[in-house]
């Protein structure tokens, strides 16, 4: 079953290259995968159903092995399949480029699912790299605006980040003597304290660059702004979470002391994400760049949960909070990028100055975008709030008033100010795009058709489910 889940997108990718109708194949494969992913999320406990392993190399022992080590993998796979279906449904390929467009989207999806389900370190890494190639290609070939520069920037950044990461991972594999991620965690005591510090630094910088941790973030906004919609949705929504997933899956169990050594720098960097990038976001004049920066900013909250987990190891709250927020952010940013693409297609511009009053001509779009915007600023009832409130609680887990506020709590308080910053730029953008009198670009803009709404509704359903009743997701853990 799991093999099907991982390889179905690749089979569909090959089918498209061989001439199958691109859009239909992509949608069909993604829909089947969504069903499989939902089923997997509910039944991941059943290891017999959801694991397989093929030996690839004798020495070092490499296995093409997949399985759900815990609910986190299953939830990330679920996130991937939901966003994939929404991405292929809402994307519109340029004339004559359908093959490339949909095949690449499927490949990104396959890479993400493979990385989240892999139990072998090599394939964990390799599947993520597999997903990056089509990401770069799509930005470079089908992107908008200054696409070459954006493609280069993301290539260099993520390439260098991956190398740093690889160094850390290989070092870990050598110390523990295995590439099997489950076995690695069991051999955690083999990672001596001296090595922990260096490995932790490599992993934080490596994984951090992939998640646009400040100050390694400047690739993200231009890349998302020029990426075709499905790529922005899949990368910002799903693939970027690989770094966070890696920190939770590998770094925290294997190098806890090393991470603890770097805790204060990490707190400073995550505040850089939330406050520095937050203010950068406020001054953006284009919606796509604003959303790109906002997605960088919101990574800070997940890093805060990770920091809370590092600072107080007995903190299951922090781990769950990080997972809920990864899921929530993935869905909400995918929704925002999908709808932004719609705004551009229907009005011809994303410049905030040129838009206004769009809610009059496109009320459906305004309603859906409004939900997405509210989700992204952490309104209760939508998934992001569930994640954020758990993150804040987890950061205050060890506070009892007796000893004053610790560094994690102080960082948490500054982070909560980010909730105000998000509201400032998001409401300003909504105000400029949808409210006020109609302008030339919006007066005759078309609204969404019923079919257009399906991908957005799919994502919104997920946002509401987790927002109204987070236990739906937490119970899967």
């Amino acid at each position: 079953m799991l093999a099907l889940l991982v390889f179905l997108p690749i089979i569909a990718f090959i089918a498209i290259l061989l001439g199958a109708p691109a859009r239909l194949t992509a949608i069909g494969a993604s829909a089947v995968n969504l069903a499989l992913g939902l089923f997997a999320a509910i039944t991941w406990h059943n290891a017999g159903l959801w694991s397989f392993s093929i030996p690839v190399l004798e020495k070092p022992a490499l296995n093409l092995a997949f399985g759900f080590a815990d609910g986190m993998s299953a939830i990330m796979v679920l996130l991937s399949v939901i966003v994939t279906l929404a991405a292929v449904l809402s994307g519109k390929a340029p004339e004559g480029k359908e093959k490339l467009y949909f095949a690449s989207s499927l490949l990104i999806s396959a890479g993400a699912i493979g990385a989240f389900a892999a139990t072998d370190l090599f394939f964990f890494y390799a599947f993520h790299e597999l997903a990056l190639v089509p990401t770069f290609l799509m930005i470079g070939m089908l992107g908008r605006g200054d696409r070459r520069a954006a493609a280069w920037k993301i290539t260099i950044y993520l390439g260098l980040g991956s190398i740093v990461l690889l160094a850390g991972l290989v070092w870990l594999a050598n110390l523990t003597g295995t590439y099997n991620m489950v076995e690695m965690v069991k051999g955690a005591e083999k990672v001596d304290p001296a090595a922990q510090k260096s490995i932790a630094a490599l992993l934080v910088v490596g994984f951090g660059t992939l998640v646009s941790l400040f100050p390694f973030h400047s690739w993200a906004a231009p890349a998302y702004a020029s990426a075709p919609a499905p790529v922005a949705m899949l990368h910002a929504g799903v693939l970027k979470k690989f770094g966070l997933y890696g920190l939770l899956r590998i770094a925290i169990p294997l190098v806890p002391e090393g991470l603890h050594y770097w805790l204060t720098p990490l707190l400073v960097l995550l505040l850089g994400n939330i406050l520095w990038v937050g203010w950068v976001t406020i001054s953006q004049k284009r919606l796509d760049l604003m959303l790109g920066n906002s997605s960088v900013m919101h990574m800070g909250y997940i890093f805060l949960a990770i920091a809370a987990l590092i600072a107080f190891p007995e903190n299951p709250l922090a781990r769950s909070a990080a997972i809920v927020l990864m899921f929530a952010h993935g869905i909400s940013i995918a929704l925002l990028f999908g709808l932004t693409d719609r705004i551009e297609r229907n009005t011809g511009t994303l410049d905030l100055q040129d838009l206004g009053g769009l809610a009059k001509s496109a009320p459906g779009l305004a309603f859906l975008f409004g939900i997405a915007a509210m989700a992204s600023i952490g309104l209760p009832g939508l998934a992001n709030f569930s994640g954020e409130v758990l993150v804040f609680l987890s950061a205050f887990k060890s506070y009892n008033g007796t000893h004053g506020l610790g560094p994690v709590q102080i960082a948490c308080i500054f982070s909560i100010w980010g909730v105000v910053i998000s509201a400032v730029y998001m409401l300003r953008a909504y105000r400029n795009i949808f409210q006020g009198p109609s302008v030339k670009a919006t007066a005759t803009a078309a609204d969404l058709t019923c079919a257009d709404r399906i991908p957005a509704l799919l994502l919104i359903l997920a946002l509401f489910a987790v927002g109204l009743y987070p236990n739906l997701l937490l119970n899967l853990l």
Binding site: R148, A151, K153, S162, W279, V419, N471
Partner: protein, 606 residues
């Protein structure tokens, strides 16, 4: 208990049904009104119940966030206000919004608001309060921005949301601190935790608790529009007038007071006496009431006069809570809700009859043309200015003044001055609006509104007079129950309040009767102490935006341009070598990936 769950979730179901199914059918208004009626009936049925029930909303190990309902005297009494005023406002809206093309959206917003407000009132824990706290902010945002094509309405909605968010920043921090101190999120368990904390950390307990309470208070400052976050409430008058009556006068803005009282009740009143935070709260309330009353004396828009009056009365309530006499504040909240809703709906009737004219100087002589509105508005005014013995406002204001007199004579002085100013500006508003000659064509054509609008006015007028006698059956908090004897200084307080009333009536009448334009001109008050201008021009434009622009500059040119740019230029020139072989980014990537493979080999063999 099932009834209480229905009370909470029915409006949500209705809002969802309106949005998803009924939007195009024209049934949305009726369905919303029916839901408001049902919730009111349930609220009446629940009077006197004392129970708690909850379910787990988010569970992680042994930690759990609950959604729960706490029924006690405080919450059931407050529900009567929310659903009672809510029902009348729903009915009034049927007529007021008759011609609006987005009626369904409006009534969806109202139902969403009823859901959110019910949640705040019934909440049994702090996270739930915060959840619904934010949701009332959303419904307020949606309803203020109902006419979103107007720039002023869209800006006002945004401003309201952001001011509330600033307050909620502190609120969240306060919740987290209180959670740390007491170890509990549920109101029922906080007191035990606090006592244990005080026992273990006696020297720092007062300071830590003060800090936490002040943070929590920030939430109330935002929601109840106290200084310095008061600027959003007058702008919120851009929303439809019934919304102003329900949300921005009677219920949502009072949520801050309700929440503070709930916190005091849960943590024990004795812990708030002599707490530095309480002094700050009391002074914030006192100064807000004074500043807002001064601003109200020079406003020309009838809704803005009432908005500043609301600010001022909320200041009274907050002051009472700060003086650890929250019962007086809750009592005033209860009476104020009815008469202020009456005044707002009355102004709505005027605005409706005068074809959306809101300037009192363009009204005049409307008592003859609209007698029911005129008389009910007079009753509302009488209650607000506390005409002795016959109005509910008198009794609750006496309690506020008594609280101030007992605890802090300076605040008592301020409160009496505010009482005078209140009488003055309401006399001005009434005289200019209802007496004399009509001063515009719109006012010439005005005539009495229909029964869907005047019946709510009459019912509210009855409550404006009678609510002080109904606190028993309606479960409202009423300090007179504990202190049937007149407190010390009763005569001083009574004479001060009557003197303020007489003086205010006299000056207001003499100055404004028969005038064509305002004889007074005090730019400082008219321009609201220049606070709004300072926020818009300085804080937002020069501080936030300029600061953001500077950060963005550094982000672009230092981090991105110099440090990273160096790398990328180096890599791009390397890439150029490859591009000579073939074009595209793939080679560059392959190059980078190749280095990776080399590293793998290196590390594996090392």
């Amino acid at each position: 208990m099932n009834l209480a769950w229905i009370l909470l979730f029915l409006p949500l179901v209705i809002a969802a049904a309106n949005q998803l199914v009924l939007k195009k059918t024209g049934l949305a208004p009726i369905v919303s009104v029916a839901s408001a009626l049902a919730t009111f009936v349930i609220a009446v049925l629940l009077l006197g119940e004392e129970k708690t029930a909850w379910f787990s909303w988010a569970t992680i190990g042994d930690f759990s966030i609950d959604i729960g309902i706490k029924l006690d005297r405080l919450s059931t009494g407050m529900m009567i206000v929310v659903t009672g005023v809510g029902l009348l406002v729903h009915i009034f809206s049927l007529a007021y919004m008759k011609a609006d093309e987005a009626k369904a959206r409006y009534f969806t917003g109202l139902s969403l608001f009823m859901f959110s407000m019910t949640g705040i009132v019934l909440a049994n824990n702090f996270i739930m309060t915060f959840i619904f706290w934010e949701l009332v902010g959303l419904s307020s945002y949606l309803l203020i921005g109902h006419w979103y094509q107007k720039d002023s309405a869209a800006d006002a909605a945004k401003k309201a949301f952001l001011c509330n968010r600033v307050g909620d920043f502190g609120f969240m921090v306060g919740i987290l601190m209180l959670w740390g101190i007491t170890g509990a999120l549920s109101f029922d368990q906080m007191k035990g935790g606090l006592e244990a904390f005080q026992h273990a950390n006696a020297p720092i307990a007062v300071g830590v608790l003060s800090a936490a309470i002040l943070c929590v208070f920030c939430g109330a400052v935002g929601k109840s529009a106290q200084l310095p976050l008061h600027v959003w409430l007058p702008d919120a008058m851009e929303g439809p007038t019934p919304v102003s009556a329900l949300i921005h006068a009677a219920t949502m803005v009072a949520a801050g007071v309700y929440m503070l009282f709930r916190v005091q009740l849960s943590l024990g009143f004795e812990n708030f006496e002599a707490l530095p935070a309480s002094t700050v709260i009391a002074w914030t309330g006192g100064l807000t009431s004074l500043a807002a009353a001064l601003m109200a004396t020079q406003q020309d828009d009838i809704k803005r006069i009432l908005a500043y009056s609301t600010l001022s009365q909320l200041g009274y309530m907050v002051m009472a809570v700060g003086l650890v006499d929250g019962e007086a504040g809750m009592f005033h909240l209860f009476t104020h809700a009815w008469f202020k809703a009456l005044l707002f709906l009355g102004s709505g009737a005027l605005i409706y009859a005068c074809h959306h004219e809101q300037d009192i100087w363009k009204m005049g002589g409307l008592l003859k043309k609209m007698p029911i509105t005129g008389i009910t508005f007079a009753i509302g005014t009488a209650a607000l200015i506390a005409v002795p013995y016959v109005t509910s406002g008198f009794y609750s204001k006496e309690e506020i003044l008594t609280a101030a007199y007992t605890h802090n004579k300076v605040l008592f002085g301020i409160a009496v001055v505010v009482a005078f100013l209140t009488t003055f500006y309401m006399t001005r508003a009434y005289v200019v609006t209802f007496l004399g000659k009509t001063r515009s064509e719109n006012a010439d054509h005005a005539h009495e509104v229909g029964p869907l609008m005047w019946i709510p006015l009459v019912l509210l007028a009855a409550m404006a007079i009678g609510s002080a006698w109904l606190t028993g059956p309606l479960n409202a908090i009423d300090p007179r129950i504990h202190a049937p004897e007149h407190a010390e200084g009763h005569l001083v307080i009574l004479s001060c309040s009557i003197a303020a009333l007489v003086l205010g009536l006299f000056t207001g009448f003499v100055l404004y009767n028969g005038k064509e334009k305002d004889p007074l001109s005090i730019p400082l008050f008219r321009n609201r102490f220049y606070v709004d201008g300072f926020y818009d021009n300085f804080l937002v434009r020069y501080f936030q935006d300029a600061f953001a622009a500077i950060i963005a500059f550094f982000d672009e040119f230092i981090i991105n341009g110099l440090i990273v740019g160096g790398f990328s230029r180096a890599a791009e020139s390397t890439g150029n070598i490859f591009r000579k072989v073939q074009s595209g980014s793939l080679q560059g990537y392959a190059f980078v990936f190749g280095i990776g493979v080399i590293l793998v080999v290196y590390f594996t063999t090392f």
